[in-house]
Symmetry: C2
Subunit: 365 residues, 2 copies
């Protein structure tokens, strides 16, 4: 990335909430002025992790420059920080520093920081204002939008959480420059998902995307389109009782693979890469999806370094068991999100017996 | 209590929620049939404490009799159970037992169980259905209604929580028969508060209330009137941005006394008894409230064994410091709920300098 892209703003609505999503290059320094306009209280708790110390310093300077008092909090990088113990630690730190109901929590980082700090904002003094400043591709297109927050239990990911909308989302595309390629690729798996959900036009843009991150102006536009898709879905179904399930495309088998691999063998986006391929295979069998879609998607996933073949070390029975345990499986039936064509989604499809297992096996190539 | 009172139902509304509050004698055995009518999932997590083992057995039998699967969970009695550690323990227990998003948490007990189990319901899998079966007077008139849930931090009570409405409230008045007199009196302090907020008619009923619990039919009616008052306030201001602050009458100074006494010298209702008297004194000075109201209220509080004089061991500076720390104090100004007359409430009153301290000192008689 080199050329500055013009900043773009998309407005999100969910329930009673309405908030702007700012996208642009170098706009992290706008965080302070943008929040000061909307803030009610004088203080913010700035939560980040050790991955982004330079960005945290910039965010702090921007907030302080706008006259806000900043309470800094850092958590260890990685999924292990999504715990109730961290919620308690941060809440005590906020209480000790005098954070009040009219103040805010600012989440600066990837999905882990956003999910943890988001749940803290939802529950500290029964709810304070929340700002998301996502710094990874995954967080920009997905986790920073729509209000899902939460922490993990040993029994499952995101088992304790809340739906809590931010009042401001600020995504500085330039922060992606510093990301490791593997992290960028993981975010791209969700971008591919949005291509499949949105339809042929976005799917084609995704399909011919150059090496990540790509030109800043174009990347801003790509992220904006993914975010806009998610915003529309959440506006229609904030609390996940209906169409929001479409966002689970690839996640039923993906989560099963992620869990069966002990959350180590595959990172989330890598498991989703495999999960998308399984969902497309099942879409062919259940709904007659053109097999060419899966072939095209496999090519683009592979080109970005995402797995398209399942490791023999992750056993099929363990994957199937994890799918059954998944909280998204309702009672006994497995309700999957599948496609008849790109952009044409079917919810609550229960594949014929044996087909999920077969689709997992086919991933072994 | 001996005569059976006819069961009464009041409907509560808050935000998008609408739920029935059932009041009556012996109706705990109706819990199963009443919930089975409204339940979506087949399982419930029944949370209670060691104070009510007999009631927990009855509740379990009633739920099972209605075809529901019951996962039992007991927590130690007392405020110490309002912790994130207990939330984690209960959430893991629920996850292990396979509680799903369509299932429910049933809170059977007093304010501690209701606040803890309520927050669990708000956050387990980002929110499951909640049933309150309050078994104390305090919980019936106050904490089981309106959706405030939460746990404590060392830094303050209810510092981590959520607003989460139940889908059913069932108050079996008969469960009050087994309560210690001190516990009943604590609940009565909140009843006196509702008398003051509601107006002369309810205040007079409260003023001439016989020894607790009193005749079942009349007690059911008294609780119904307090609950109805709270329901109306919550319907107007679920998220506590306006008129809900009226329910803080007596709680600004009351919380200060409770905290300064280390949560040991005075129980919540006892501190509220003193806090109400301080609020009435300030109401006289700030708003011209007739001094006869405070004299009448002091008589009824004393008659029910509630304190009307502040113990010398709880120092005024500690009380004032705790008031300043209270999360309900907004920035620097102290916003109090006061009265011009019974039923005529003023919100956000900031007493003249020195008057809060003087009102606390006057409590020493």
């Amino acid at each position: 990335m080199n050329a500055l892209a013009p900043a773009q703003v998309v407005w999100a609505e969910a329930g009673d909430a309405r908030y702007p999503v700012h996208l642009g290059t170098g706009i992290l320094d706008e965080l302070g002025p943008l929040w000061a306009e909307r803030a009610a209280g004088p203080s913010v708790l700035l939560v980040s992790d050790g991955n982004v110390p330079g960005l945290a310093r910039r965010a702090r300077a921007s907030l302080q420059g706008a006259g806000l008092r900043v309470i800094g909090a850092s958590v260890p990088p990685g999924e292990g920080s999504k715990s109730l113990a961290q919620v308690e630690r941060l809440a005590r730190l906020a209480a000790e520093a005098g954070l009040r109901r009219s103040d805010a929590v600012v989440a600066l980082g990837g999905g882990v920081v956003g999910d943890l700090a988001g749940f803290l904002a939802a529950s500290y003094q029964r709810g304070v204002r929340l700002v998301h400043a996502p710094t990874t591709l995954l967080a920009m297109v997905d986790s920073a939008i729509g209000g899902k927050t939460g922490v993990d239990l040993p029994e499952g990911k995101n088992y304790v959480g809340a739906i809590w909308q931010p009042q401001l989302v600020l995504a500085d595309i330039e922060t992606l420059d510093g990301l490791p390629p593997r992290e960028l690729a993981c975010g791209f798996a969700e971008v591919v998902k949005y291509g499949l959900l949105d339809g042929p036009e976005l799917l084609e843009l995704v399909e011919y995307w150059p090496a990540l991150p790509g030109p800043a102006a174009e990347l801003t536009g790509l992220i904006r389109r993914c975010a806009a898709h998610k915003i529309a879905v959440v506006a229609a179904d904030e609390r996940d009782h209906g169409v929001r399930a479409s966002l689970n495309l690839g996640h039923t088998v993906g989560h099963g693979i992620e869990a069966a691999g002990g959350y180590e063998r595959y990172r989330h986006g890598e498991a989703i890469s495999l999960g998308l391929l399984a969902a497309l295979r099942l879409s062919e069998q259940e709904l007659g999806l053109d097999a060419a879609v899966r072939q095209r998607v496999a090519v683009v996933l592979a080109r970005h370094g995402l797995p398209t073949r399942l490791d023999a070390a992750v056993a099929t029975p363990a994957i199937l068991e994890a799918i059954g345990r998944d909280k998204k499986a309702d009672r006994d039936a497995l309700n999957m999100t599948l496609l008849t064509a790109p952009g044409d989604v079917r919810l609550g499809v229960t594949p014929a017996p044996g087909r999920v297992e077969a689709a997992v096996e086919e991933l072994r190539g």
